[in-house]
Structure formats: structure tokens, C-alpha cells
């Protein structure tokens, strides 16, 4: 691997590690402004994480910190595999199914870690989180199939800017339809049912404390950034735009984050069955697009 590529991958990783908490700070500020509050500074999430990392971990005696750490390791692996600032990835031929599996694996491992705490609230949160993942997977593969059929590859190299490289309008439609699914998977309101603060007292995170909580929160923030980045990679013709694609990517990433924060403020939390029913109906639409994509030119 060339030194230039290594430098680009390291830059991507540093960007993800720094920008994920910053975006969360922006979201908190937006949320506060909509609610007529002054809100914390946009760097507040850094302070929160730093405070948690300084604390020693107090957790349930049966909690598996190995699984929580593995979850963080998987999200770091995902952040190397998804093009962010630069298009360089590790491994060089990054694959979209591999990326999705890394992100899901990170979520599943965090759920398993949480469940080992023996807390009934955590178990309820785990059950809701995994059910949400199942529902999303009811829809997402159909969109991926539509894209794969027309692009002819699952490699990120060829999927970047897919609607522009493919002549089929179905690809653009499939990429657009991914947006709501990414919003749901990012656990914003009204779909934030696994943590559900007033009901489950943080659900999955209830038994995490100190450094483990910091790792869990950091994992969640990185996951949000990566999911939006993945969508933007698919949507923007980054190879064509060259260096211009970096400011465009950053602008759109921030804009999406702001949009998500606004939506998060507007909506009230759904009940679990409402969330599952909503995604189930949405998956019927995605399936329709996949069938259309099969026969469309």
C-alpha cells in the first residue's frame, strides 16, 4: 500500500473520531434552539466523553466488557472501510455488504454486552434494537439489490456515485429510499425505542458506566456519521468531482445532521409496534422498487 493511501486512510479515521462528537454537538445546539433554549456549546460532547473516559468503570458485575470493546473495534473497522474525507479505504476493495455487516456486528455486539448485565431494562432495549435491525433488513437488501443489478458490482469503488454512473432511474430511487432507513437505524426520534429514556431508563446503556459508557456512546455517534457517509458516497459522483467532492461531502454531512436533529425534535417517540409496522410497510415499497429494477432497462 502506498504512503499516500495510508495517509488518506489515517486522515479518514481521525476525521471520523473527531467529527462524530462535533456533529452531535451541532445537533444538540439545533435541538436546543428549536426548543427556545440556549443549549450547550457544540464541543460539549467532547467534554462529556472526556469526563466519562476519566472516570473508572462502575458496571454490573456480570457485564462483558470484552463484548463492549469488540463493538467499538468493529465500528472502527467500519470507519476504515467507508470512504469519508478521502476515497481510500482499508481494505482497498471495500464491499458494501462487508460494511453493512460490520456496522450491524457492532450493534449486535453492543446489545450482547448490554444483555450480559442481567438488567431486565437492558434485555428489553436489546430486544427492541435487534427487532429494529431485523425490520430495516427487511427493506435495505431490496434497495441494495436494485443498485447491484444496475451497477454490476458490490464494490464501493464502483458504487460511489451510483445514480450518475448507471443510466437506470431505479438506482437513484433506491439510493433516495435508503435515507429514511438510515434515519431509523441512527436511532433518532420517533424511532428511538431501544434506549427510550423515560420508559426504559436508557435501555441498552442502562448498566454501562464510566469508560464503557463512553465507548458505547462513541460507537453510537460514529455509527450515525458512517451511515450518512455511506449514503452520501452512493449519492455523490465523487470520482468525477475530484477535490470538490470533499467540501460537498462535508456540507451535505452537516446538513443531514441538522435535518435529523430537526426531525428528532419535531417527532414524539413511537411505540415499538408502530416502528415495526412503519418499516414493514416501507419495505413493501422497497420490494416494489427492486422488482421494478429487475425489469427496468
Amino acid at each position: 500500500m502506498e504512503l499516500k493511501t495510508i495517509a488518506a486512510i489515517v486522515t479518514n479515521l481521525v476525521f471520523v473520531l473527531l467529527y462524530a462528537p462535533l456533529l452531535n454537538g451541532v445537533e444538540r445546539k439545533i435541538r436546543a434552539r428549536i426548543q427556545n433554549r440556549l443549549g450547550p456549546p457544540i464541543t460539549q460532547t467532547f467534554y462529556d466523553l472526556a469526563k466519562l473516559f476519566r472516570r473508572s468503570t462502575v458496571a454490573s458485575s456480570s457485564l462483558s466488557y470484552v463484548l463492549a470493546s469488540l463493538s467499538f473495534a468493529y465500528i472502527i473497522a467500519a470507519s476504515l472501510a467507508i470512504p469519508t474525507i478521502f476515497l481510500a479505504t482499508f481494505p482497498r476493495h471495500s464491499d458494501i455488504i462487508y460494511i453493512l455487516y460490520l456496522v450491524i456486528a457492532s450493534t449486535v455486539l453492543l446489545c450482547l454486552a448490554s444483555a450480559t448485565s442481567s438488567s431486565p431494562f437492558a434485555a428489553l432495549g436489546v430486544s427492541r434494537e435487534i427487532s429494529t435491525v431485523m425490520c430495516i433488513e427487511l427493506a435495505l437488501p431490496f434497495l441494495l439489490t436494485t443498485i447491484a443489478i444496475h451497477v454490476g458490482s458490490l464494490s464501493m469503488k464502483q458504487l460511489v456515485g451510483a445514480p450518475f454512473t448507471s443510466t437506470s432511474p431505479c438506482v437513484a430511487l433506491a439510493v433516495a429510499l435508503m435515507l429514511p432507513l438510515i434515519y431509523v437505524e441512527s436511532t433518532y426520534l420517533p424511532f428511538e425505542i431501544a434506549e427510550a429514556e423515560p420508559e426504559l431508563a436508557s435501555g441498552i446503556e442502562i448498566e454501562f458506566g464510566g469508560r464503557i459508557l463512553a465507548l458505547a456512546l462513541y460507537t453510537k455517534l460514529i455509527k450515525r456519521l458512517l451511515l450518512v457517509s455511506l449514503l452520501l458516497d452512493l449519492a455523490i459522483p465523487r470520482y468525477v468531482l475530484g477535490w470538490l467532492s470533499i467540501p460537498l461531502y462535508l456540507a451535505l454531512l452537516t446538513a443531514m445532521s441538522i435535518l435529523f436533529a430537526v426531525l428528532d425534535t419535531i417527532f414524539a417517540r413511537y411505540r415499538p409496534e408502530q416502528v415495526f409496522r412503519w418499516i414493514k410497510r416501507y419495505s413493501a415499497l422497497c420490494m416494489g422498487v427492486a422488482i421494478l429494477g429487475l425489469f427496468a432497462p
Binding site: V58, S61, S62, S118, S119, P141, G152, L154, S155
Partner: protein, 641 residues
């Protein structure tokens, strides 16, 4: 002393018969013994035989040599010759890996039945079952194929119904026998009668001659009968109902053999039938792929709602065999439609997933068996908190769960990735089947989160204070299989290379995999390198561990109330919301099940009872009816031919 491997394997025609004879002799001599001695003797010989067959298979796969082992020459009856070519070697490797692990595990496990059951009877059937599976994939004559197939069915049904005081086990054994016997009858009609009447021979060459002739009727009749027999035996939907009853009721080492090895035997024959003995057909390719897709969906969705550990695993066996069938069907269809690269990828995926499923499913059965061995229960609603008491079993269960869930870099991910890639990129209706398979993978993940959490995390509702880790003879095979889950995950090229050798031997187009550590589909630009992920995780994980290491352990917070086991979530409540919303598969399955397995059999059995008063039990009547039907069918066929 220097051991020349080539001489050793070239001498297989002498070594293997000797080992087979010794195993059989030792088993027969020890059969009258009721105690553990018989099991120790026969399972030790089974393990040695499995080890030898495994090394022989690996040698054939590495060298692409064909080993012929003549066993019996009976004059007018076709000679019994074992032929180990690369495809046979691959499936022999599957049988022998699971056989080796189960045999070692069984020595300790059968303590459960000491003084209750006749262990000599168990040993005899166990050895016959293992040997018959090895023979079925090695013979090249339909007559011997049917003979060993029958032996496989007979011995395994005695093993399923081994615990005689359990009426559930007896019923499961009978159901398994009746359903799979029906499949065998179809096979007898197709092979022994039809092929023999047409060509005067029952060899695979004679079968191939019929299938490659231009007679469409012959082709349809023979392939349909043989394919139906195979689909029944591998529990493809709609012929799956016997499996969730039979597999859990068998003693655990047998459950591992049934799910890990036996349901792969029909896959072997389907691959041989549709990719070598006949020209690949688009119609059969789509039929097998669609059945695979339905099977993986139905099996896994039903697995999600189970809360008996072994029954949950049995339903997943249906689901996972669906993946294998989907990949195999895709390979047949794509070879027929001249898409050789994706076809070879799908073919590799089917072999790879068959091997992976054999490893992680037998491991899962061994972990469930270990828990059953120590706690005496399979009910996930009452189990919990066993990770501290059975740490190695918990670790193995975690590795197996992550493998079956398809978490990279474990072995399940690589084969599933190849299934998704080969189907999705095919630009055909099979692409949609790939999407369904990907959804079902998430259901599998959910199911195994429940399996692991309810068994090893949380608090138990039964007394587990005296539970401890299982003995070393039961731990070692689990660790062996867990290591294979990791090794085959990070070196997928190993299987891809073996698959290339198999495809070449079957005259199928293939491509050369890049290295042992890369799985790729050339021209489509898709590849994965699980070793890189494993290396990355091994760097990041220690850092995260140092950061996250807990300093103080406390009791979980339960709104200030005292924490008792009654507050932990039972397995049946785990995905209740999801099951209520996505209820269609269950309600449809219930309706179809009521019609096909309750109403129609009830009416049919009532009619049969009226006819055959002397038989009280319905299944016996069914067998008679089937036999009569088959006899009529045979007569018609013979007249026709």
C-alpha cells in the same frame, strides 16, 4: 520412522477396508454390553476412522487425485467400490469432521443414559449411521446408493427414538422414518427400476446416459423422483416437518450428526445429479433456488419463535439448508444460462456454506447438549447466567452464534457474502432471492442473540448452583469446531481452491482464487479479505479493552427493587412485538399446516383405518397405502419401459 504420505494414501484401498472392518468388528463385539464400555470402544474406533477419512479427503482435495477402493465383488450384483473424487472428498470431509467431534463428545455425553438405556444398541446404530453416510457419498452405483441410504435412514431413526421412555422421541422417530422412507421409495422407482429397466445397469454412468439422452420424458421422470427424494431428506420446505421433531429428540452427538452431516448428503447428490450426471438445466436451477429461498425463510422465521434450545437449532438447520439450496440452484441456473463466473461463485458458496453449517451447527448442538447435560433442561425460558459456570461452553456458543449470524471474520460471513454476491449480481429473479436471504440472515442474528442471552446471560429460573463446566472429553470437540469457525472464516480461499478442483473434476468452468485469504468474484470487482479485519480487530481490541476494563462490579439496577430471577426476560417474550407485527408467515404457516398436516391426514387416516382395522396406529396405515401406490407405480413403469 519416516511416514510417506503418498504411500499412506495410495494404500487407502488396503488401509480403509482394514479400519472399516476393525470398527465394525469392535462395534459388533461390544453391542451386547449395556454399559458405557460399548460406547467407549465403538466411539473410539469411529473417531479414528473419521480422522483417517478426513485426512484421506483432504489429500484428495489437495492433489485432485481419484482414489478407488474396491470392497466387495459379488458376481452378478454390482461390485461395491468406493470412489473418492474431489466432490466426494469434500462431503466426506464434512461427514468426518462432524463424525470426529461427535464421537469424542459422545464418550462423555452418554453418561446421561447409563443404567437407563442399552448403550450397546446406541453404539451399533451410531457406527452404522456414520459409516452409511460415508458410503452413500462414495459409491457410484444406484443400487448400493439405495442400500446405504436405507441403512442411514434405519440406523438414524433408531437413534432418534433411542430414549424409549420418551413418547415424544418415539413419535419423532416414527414420523422421520415414514416421511424419509417415502422419499426412498421414490428413489427406488427412479433408479433401481427405471434406470435398470432402460439400461440394464444401475451405475451412475447408466443414469447419466439416460439423463443426457434426448428423451425428455425419461429426463423429467428420473430427475423429479430423485430430486424429490433428496429434497425430502434435506428437509426442504414443504417436506420439512419431520426435522424439528427428529433432530432435537436424538441424543446430542446424533443431533450434531443429523444436522451437521446427514442433511448435506442429499446436497451432494443434487450437485452430482444436476451438475455432472446431467446437463445443467435452467428449470431445475430455478426450482431448487426458489425452494431454497422459501426454505431459508420459513425455517428461520419459525426458529425465531422457538424457546427449546435444540428445537430452535433444528429449525435453523432447515433455514441454513435453504441457503445451501439457494446457492446450488443459482449455480445450476447460471451454468445453464452461460454465466460461468457467477455460477462458479454460487457453486463455491453452496459447498462453502454446507461445510460451514456442518461446523457451526454441530458446535451449537454440542453447546446445547452440554447445557442439557449439566442442567437437565432445554427450556430457554428457565435457563440463564451459565457463562460464569460454563465459560468454555459459553465462549464456544458465542463463536458459533456469531458464525451462523454471519459476523465477519467468522466462517458464516464468507459463505453468506458469496451467496448474496452471486445471486444479487445475476440480474435475474434470483437477485430478489439474494435480498430475501440477506433479510433472513438478520433474523438468524436475532435468534442467536436470544439463544446466547437467555442461556448464558441474565438470571436463571432454576437452581444452577451445582452446575459446572462439562468434562474435557466434551470440551475438546467444542474447541476444535470453534477453531475451525475462525480458521475457515479468515482463510476462505482454502475452500474456494477446493471448489475449483471439484468444478474441474466435474468439467464445470471455474476461476482461480487469488490467495487463501481472499474471496473474490473477478470481473465484478467484488472481494473480501477477512484476515485484514481479523488483524485490525486484534490491534484495536486490546486498546479498547484497556480503556473499558471495569473497576467495580455492582448488582443491576431494577428501579430500586430487589433483583430476582423472575425479573429477567423469558425467551418467549424476546421478540413478541416483532412477531405480532410480522405475523403473516406464522398465520399462513398455521393455516397451511392445519390443512396439510391435520385435516388432510386426518381424513386420509380415517379412510385408511376403515380399510385396515388391524392397525391401530395411523402411520402404519400410511406406509401400507404408500407401498400399494408404489407397487402400482412400479407395475405401470415396468409395462411402459
Amino acid at each position: 520412522m519416516h511416514l510417506d504420505l503418498n504411500t499412506f494414501f495410495l494404500d487407502a484401498p488396503h488401509t480403509l477396508p482394514l479400519l472399516l472392518a476393525l470398527t465394525l468388528l469392535a462395534t459388533l463385539v461390544s453391542t451386547p454390553l449395556r454399559g458405557r464400555a460399548s460406547t467407549i470402544i465403538s466411539l473410539t474406533f469411529s473417531a479414528i476412522l473419521s480422522l483417517y477419512v478426513l485426512t484421506l479427503s483432504l489429500h484428495v482435495l489437495a492433489t485432485h487425485r481419484v482414489v478407488e477402493i474396491p470392497l466387495l465383488d459379488l458376481g452378478s450384483i454390482p461390485s461395491l467400490v468406493l470412489v473418492v473424487d474431489p466432490l466426494t472428498a469434500f462431503f466426506l470431509a464434512i461427514v468426518s469432521i462432524v463424525g470426529l467431534a461427535s464421537s469424542i463428545y459422545g464418550v462423555g455425553y452418554v453418561q446421561r443414559f447409563a443404567r437407563k438405556e442399552h448403550l450397546g444398541w446406541f453404539s451399533l446404530n451410531y457406527v452404522l449411521f456414520l459409516l452409511s453416510m460415508m458410503f452413500v457419498v462414495s459409491v457410484r452405483d444406484l443400487l448400493w446408493f439405495v442400500v446405504f441410504w436405507e441403512l442411514m435412514t434405519f440406523s438414524s431413526q433408531f437413534l432418534v427414538a433411542f430414549e424409549k421412555e420418551k413418547s415424544v422421541a418415539l413419535r419423532a422417530g416414527l414420523k422421520y422414518f415414514c416421511v424419509t422412507k417415502f422419499g426412498t421409495e421414490l428413489m427406488i422407482v427412479a433408479s433401481v427400476v427405471y434406470v435398470w429397466c432402460s439400461t440394464g445397469s444401475t451405475s451412475f454412468e447408466a443414469l447419466s446416459k439416460i439423463l443426457r439422452s434426448n428423451n425428455v420424458v425419461e429426463y423429467i421422470v428420473v430427475t423429479t423422483f430423485l430430486a424429490l427424494a433428496m429434497l425430502i431428506k434435506c428437509a426442504s420446505v414443504p417436506f420439512h416437518s419431520w426435522l424439528p421433531d427428529a433432530h432435537p429428540e436424538a441424543p446430542t452427538p446424533v443431533s450434531a450428526l443429523l444436522s451437521g452431516a446427514m442433511i448435506k448428503v442429499p446436497i451432494y447428490f443434487l450437485a452430482r445429479l444436476f451438475l455432472q450426471l446431467s446437463k445443467p438445466s435452467i428449470v431445475w436451477g430455478y426450482t431448487v433456488a426458489v425452494l431454497g429461498c422459501v426454505t431459508l425463510f420459513v425455517g428461520t422465521m419459525y426458529a425465531l419463535v422457538q424457546h427449546d434450545s435444540k428445537r430452535l437449532l433444528a429449525y435453523h438447520s432447515i433455514g441454513q439448508i435453504g441457503y445451501v439450496l439457494l446457492a446450488l440452484g443459482t449455480a445450476i441456473a447460471l451454468y445453464a444460462s452461460n454465466q460461468p463466473i457467477l455460477a462458479f461463485a454460487a457453486f463455491t458458496a453452496s459447498l462453502y456454506h454446507a461445510l460451514n453449517h456442518a461446523i457451526f451447527k454441530s458446535l451449537l448442538f454440542l453447546t446445547a447438549g452440554s447445557v442439557l447435560f449439566r442442567t437437565g433442561t432445554r427450556d430457554l425460558n428457565v435457563l440463564g447466567g451459565l457463562a460464569k459456570r460454563m465459560p468454555i461452553t459459553a465462549l464456544c456458543a458465542l463463536i458459533a452464534s456469531l458464525s451462523i449470524a454471519g459476523v465477519p471474520p467468522f466462517n458464516g460471513f464468507a459463505s453468506k457474502w458469496l451467496i448474496y454476491a452471486s445471486t444479487m449480481l445475476s440480474r435475474s429473479p434470483l437477485s430478489l432471492a439474494g435480498a430475501v436471504a440477506m433479510f433472513v440472515s438478520s433474523v438468524t442474528t436475532a435468534s442467536f442473540v436470544k439463544y446466547f442471552v437467555t442461556m448464558f446471560a441474565g438470571r436463571p429460573r432454576i437452581d444452577v448452583s451445582r452446575v459446572r463446566e462439562v468434562p474435557p472429553s466434551m470440551v475438546v470437540p467444542q474447541l476444535l469446531l470453534a477453531s475451525l469457525c475462525i480458521a475457515l472464516g479468515i482463510a476462505p480461499g482454502l475452500v474456494a481452491r477446493a471448489s475449483m478442483g471439484i468444478a474441474s473434476a466435474m468439467d464445470l468452468p471455474s476461476y482461480v482464487p487469488r490467495t487463501w485469504f481472499i474471496l473474490d468474484i473477478p470481473r465484478y470487482g467484488s472481494m473480501i479479505v477477512p484476515l485484514l479485519l481479523a488483524s485490525l480487530i486484534s490491534v484495536v481490541l486490546p486498546i479498547a479493552l484497556i480503556i473499558a476494563r471495569p473497576r467495580l462490579g455492582v448488582e443491576p439496577w431494577v428501579s430500586g427493587a430487589l433483583y430476582t430471577s423472575s425479573r429477567s426476560m423469558p425467551a418467549k417474550s424476546f421478540y413478541r412485538d416483532f412477531e405480532e407485527v410480522v405475523h403473516e408467515p406464522y398465520s399462513l404457516g398455521e393455516k397451511l399446516g392445519r390443512v396439510f398436516f391435520v385435516e388432510i391426514p386426518r381424513v386420509a387416516l380415517e379412510r385408511i383405518r376403515l380399510l385396515v382395522h388391524s392397525f391401530e396406529y395411523g402411520y402404519a396405515s400410511t406406509i401400507i397405502l404408500l407401498t400399494v401406490c408404489i407397487a402400482i407405480g412400479l407395475g405401470v413403469m415396468m409395462l411402459w419401459s
